[in-house]
């Protein structure tokens, strides 16, 4: 997956969680939580979807790496390079 593919994947998962999520003004390097009204349960949903769709196991200690869209892409890029 390219960085753009990963970005689209994350946004698609967030859209499933909250169909009203507005990505127009989303700043990639700012926390998703503040911009999209996501709570800790929503981040758990993202982790579960990544496991379901791509068999990715993300340890609890790595959850903070999913904070912003940029950090998600940075973290997932090596894990999804062969997908």
């Amino acid at each position: 997956m390219t960085r753009d593919d990963i970005k689209d994947l994350i946004l698609e998962i967030i859209k499933d969680i909250d169909e009203d999520a507005d990505f127009e003004t989303l700043q990639a390097d700012q926390p998703l939580r503040d911009q999209l009204d996501l709570d800790s349960m929503d981040f758990l949903d993202i982790v579960m979807e990544l496991r379901k769709r791509h068999k990715l196991q993300i340890p609890e200690g790595d959850y903070p790496q999913l904070a912003s869209l940029s950090s998600c892409v940075n973290y997932l890029e090596p894990l999804l390079k062969n997908v």
Binding site: K52, K55, Q57
Partner: protein, 468 residues
Amino acid sequence: MPLSLDKAADHYDVIVIGSGLGGLTTAKRLAYCGHKVLLLEFHHQLGGLATWFKRKGHIFDISLHGFPYGMVKTCKKYWTKEITESIVQLKNIVFDNPQFSLKTTFDRLDFTNLLTQKFKISQAIIDSFFATVAGMNFYDDQTMTTRELFEKFFPGRSDVHRLLMEPITYANGSTLDDPAITYGIVFSNFMNKGVFTFEGGTDRLIEMMTYDLEKNGVTICTRAKVERIIVEKGKVRGVEVNGRVISAPAVVSNSGITNTIFDLAPRDAFSDEFLAKADAIRVNNSSCQVYIGLKQECEIEDKGDLLFTSTAPVFDSSELLDMHTRSKTFSVYYPKTRPGHDRYTIVASMNSHYDNWNSLTPAAYETEKQALIDRTLVDLNRYFPGVNDKIDWLEAATPKTFNRYTLHTRGTSFGTKFEGLAVSRSLFKEVAGLFHVGSVGIIMSGWLGAINYGVIVANDVDAYIRSA
């Protein structure tokens, strides 16, 4: 429709023991993730403490008293659109005690108005209090108690403490001496938008959940009592249920955490260190309830949906737990609560200690139960004068009743105190493949807490099964 146990297969990916809202949600999430799930319930009805019973044309809800708005998002994400659309607000929350009487929508805006105008607290203090409780996380410092939190913001104001604490004591069994975070997290959830209920009642919710579970391929068996969890060489192998062994690499117990460790799993499966932590778990208090049904042709005026009443001069956590407490809530179910059903029912709830009731002789138990009903009627007549003539069903439940139907240690209706959460969360690190979901730590209780915890645990189980 749930099946009888002889219809179950011999092997599953995961077995869920118990069908409280946590167990139901874990089962649903794991089936959604593609696993083959067996759900076992000892009772003939699903729901755990989210339950109901029918008498003489009445349907009595046991634990449908009001939950936070967060249920909307949670049900939308983890259950169905139909379930979400049945969540409606309870707008009339009443407080009546010797210190104050008021009606509120129980949200931040209304509470701010009440605190400034009626209780004369400054806006700055209120804002600071709300900001403090809203910022609380379960992993935060636990040394501050709720009593200390209240004294910090509203020193000496026992009336304000009562307004803030009384509903939460009924919601999660916490006291002024529990960690402030167990108060703040739950209080903030309610203050978000107020108190909500499920239109159509608990029976309709559980029916909708059952349908959804079956649609997702979960095998559900009722009257199936798990006798033991089988552990071999540090790993879960399955369960023995009604004398039959069913194997699975993962077992999720929605039985109480203390029941799971001390009654279901073999003791030698745990380290001494872990058992010491489990031994130290304090289960929360139980409840007493009085169920009141009105005759078919009788109506009562709308005096509010949820009434927090007390004749005790000041709020005191131990007074609320006294066997003869003068404090109780009335949940009033008008016909609007159950469209198509024209009956009025009222459920009075009190917090209570199991030991006080369990130590009575059979004769004394019956006498105390009748006295409980009599006291409740005296209190109820203050709000609905002459209601006695309209009643055609009266029945009481005590902590012993809660114990009989849920099997929970000492009939706890709010799970465990705070330390239970860490033990529940670390169970699968102690015995591979064994998980717990259910009311623990005060914060993971109530309908919303139980469902969300079900999702959290399903994530752990899914990760475990996929890595095995």
